[in-house]
Amino acid sequence: MSTMVGTLFGAEFAYWQTSGFRLLMAFVAVLLPAGGTVYLYLFKMVSFMQSRLGPMEAGPYGTLQLVAELGKNVQKEDIIPAQADVFVFKAAPYVVLISTFLLVLVVPFGPDAVFADFDTGIFFALAVSSVSVIGILMAGWASASKYSLLGGLRAAGQLIAYELPLVLAVVGVVIQAGTLSVQGIVTSQAEGEIFGWGGVGNPFFLTQLVGFFIFMVAVQAELTQSPFDMPIAESELVAGYMTEYSGFRFLMFFIGEFATANIFAFLAASLFLGGWSLPPFVADALFADGNFSPWMNLVGPAVMGGKMLLLTFVIYWVRFTYPRFREDQLQSFAWKFLIPLALANIAVTGLLKVVF
């Protein structure tokens, strides 16, 4: 399918056109869901959960609050602590944000709507997701603040610990799909059958429920969201590695955090919920080629958006409900519970793959 990227609805596009379009869409795919979920969930949903209204003044129902926040952060003074390692301090937010943009590259939004369809896509995604650890460590170290240092070190320990269950949870899916390409995983779900019935395809969360659970827990930890928000624990470390950042640099961390949440939700949707594909009986009724009609390049992003909203809803719901684990407790949760469970899941999946 990746060979067809240059054509859409029979029209040919030049290389610079597709490249420019992809660049534009990469920004859209990162920033639009980030803004959407921040407004919908972080501003509004959580306010309703906490019996308050949330932003109401900027625009109808506070819809322009994001613009106001952007303006506020851009006009703030750019403070760099006197003792800071200036270059590293300035570079850290970019490193975090770059990891987010690299992550979105492998997410497919339609049969042709992919930024880059690597054969080892999911492997690439899991590898670049840990680039953000470097950025966080850089921020924690270069800030020359004790709170930042503690936060950065906590983050490094935590993100590395939860990288493992994240990878292991995906292995089950890869065994089932027989490919490392994210597009391939989505396709195999769309074409899959449940005991010979292909009406809804075979979304992997049915068979990989344990893997899905582990993946979502590990994602929560990778995002340093409560109950795994020890690195930015606001009641003890003020804001962890972000303590010394202000203005636009803080905004970049903020965008990085919430955009990464969405992209992990995109990935989880691709791996476990069938990605951009509609249930085949719906797709077949709508389009001649079913899920592989060119129209799916337009419907796919909407389907992905819906699934992403569903998953980020869970992420934020958990975030605003639970108290946080202590550092040692979350480590032992990863090493003593999640990783053995993930390994058992892989063993069972492998066994069943051989049997069937």
Binding site: M49, Q50, S51, R52, K146, Y147, L150, S226, P227, D229, M230, A233, E234, S235, E236, L237, V238, F320, T321, Y322, P323, R324, F325, R326, E327, D328, Q329
Partner: protein, 394 residues
């Protein structure tokens, strides 16, 4: 409360403390961390200097006084009725409770006794102040542990009680309502029924907190076995209130002092219970305060049902001159035992007022308690000890 998980937690804490002691002996070079005076966990301007080895506390040193307002000295240049305006601001969450021991002390010196109705209403307001104070703690403990939602519920439901206090006294935060010889005013019409509704809301809030926090595995993991205060250590540091009742010491001045039992407050007239918890950890302190809020609701309801009629004010001279003498009156305030030592030389103003506030004494155990804890546990322990900065630095 000694199932396997708990014992493992205790053993873990003991091992931690032992490690910290070894580090002290080796004189490992640590990192000094200033928690405060401006810090999200201190609710004001408390500063704790902790010496860290990694994330473990080797030594902790609370530095108080950033909010000292000199109320003891200021009281000396104010007449007795004026003093209550000041001392309202000591524990600002349960303000009415600050006035009561001072007024009772002055009444003792003047040998005036408030009429029964005033005593009962005083007790009702005293308990409402306790509810207004402790509900905020119940929510705030969640914030300190990373669950932001409970505190919003706490503020929402505390509002019902604050409204009721406002309806009687006219002040939401600083009622300034207690008078020598009685109260300023009687209850407004319809207040009793409204208060019962408000108490229902508080009961729902307690159930909600029980679901959200007490029953939560993470909350239990974060609080059980953390900051254990053995009863004898707690007593030797002068802890009071729920902090000492959480260690299993059955001591409550509402029941155990003559002031609570009829001489000023009417706790002898109602059926209630002092809650204790044997564990002495952060969880126990939270649990005891949760039960105390429920018990306060019971006390207030019983008092409102049996409210006697009669005057609200005893016969008091228009210009209050307190005869020479000394009196110490302590009551069981929301934060613990609060007492006023009043020395009068027969003038319009007190000669000297010594304020024994609960948080100041409760704070004194922190260097002992924080040794060997991790930074996240420091916050848990400070939150569960529950101090109010105004109550530490008068």
């Amino acid at each position: 409360m000694t199932d396997l998980a708990d014992r493992r937690q205790m053993a873990y804490i003991a091992a931690q403390a032992a490690d910290a002691r070894v580090n002290v002996e080796l004189e490992a070079e640590g990192m000094n961390l200033n928690i405060g005076p401006q810090h999200p966990a201190t609710h004001g301007t408390l500063r704790i200097v902790v010496q860290l080895d990694g994330e473990q506390v080797i030594a902790a040193d609370p530095m108080m006084g950033y909010m000292h307002r000199g109320y003891e000295k200021l009281s000396e240049v104010r007449t007795y009725p004026q003093v209550t305006t000041l001392i309202n601001r000591i524990d600002w969450l349960g303000s009415f409770a600050n006035e009561v021991p001072f007024i009772l002390g002055a009444e003792q010196l003047m040998e005036i006794e408030a009429p029964p109705r005033a005593r009962w209403i005083r007790t009702v307001l005293f308990e409402l102040a306790r509810i207004a104070n402790l509900t905020l703690f119940l929510g705030d403990m969640g914030v300190q542990l990373g669950a932001v939602t409970p505190v919003f519920y706490a503020f929402r439901d505390r509002e019902y009680i604050v409204n009721q206090i406002e309806a009687v006294t006219g002040g939401r935060f600083h009622p300034n309502f207690d008078r020598i010889g009685g109260l300023k005013d009687d209850l407004p019409a319809g207040w009793i029924a409204d208060t019962k509704v408000a108490l229902g809301e508080i009961r729902d809030f307690c159930d909600q907190m029980e679901d959200l926090l007490v029953g939560n595995e993470i909350f239990e993991a974060r609080t059980r076995g953390i900051g254990v205060i053995p009863a004898d250590v707690g007593l030797s540091y002068g802890l009071s209130g729920a902090n000492i009742r959480g260690s299993g010491v059955d001591w409550d001045l509402r029941r155990d002092s003559p002031v609570g039992q009829g001489q000023g407050l009417a706790y002898n007239e109602v059926d209630w219970k002092v809650w204790t918890h044997p564990d002495g950890d952060s969880f126990a302190r939270y649990w005891v305060r949760l039960q105390e809020v429920r018990e306060s609701c019971r006390i207030v309801e019983q008092l409102l049902d049996g409210l006697p009629s009669g005057p609200i004010m005893a016969k008091v001279p228009r210009i209050i001159k307190v005869p020479a003498g000394e009196a110490y009156v302590a009551t069981e305030n929301p934060l613990g035992v609060m007492g006023y030592y009043i020395i009068s030389q027969g003038g319009l103003e007190p000669f000297r007022v010594k304020i024994r506030s609960a948080s100041f004494s409760n704070m004194s155990i922190t260097p002992w308690l924080l040794k060997g804890a991790y930074v996240p546990d420091v916050i848990t322990i400070l939150a569960s000890l529950y101090f109010i900065l105004g109550d530490i630095d008068r």
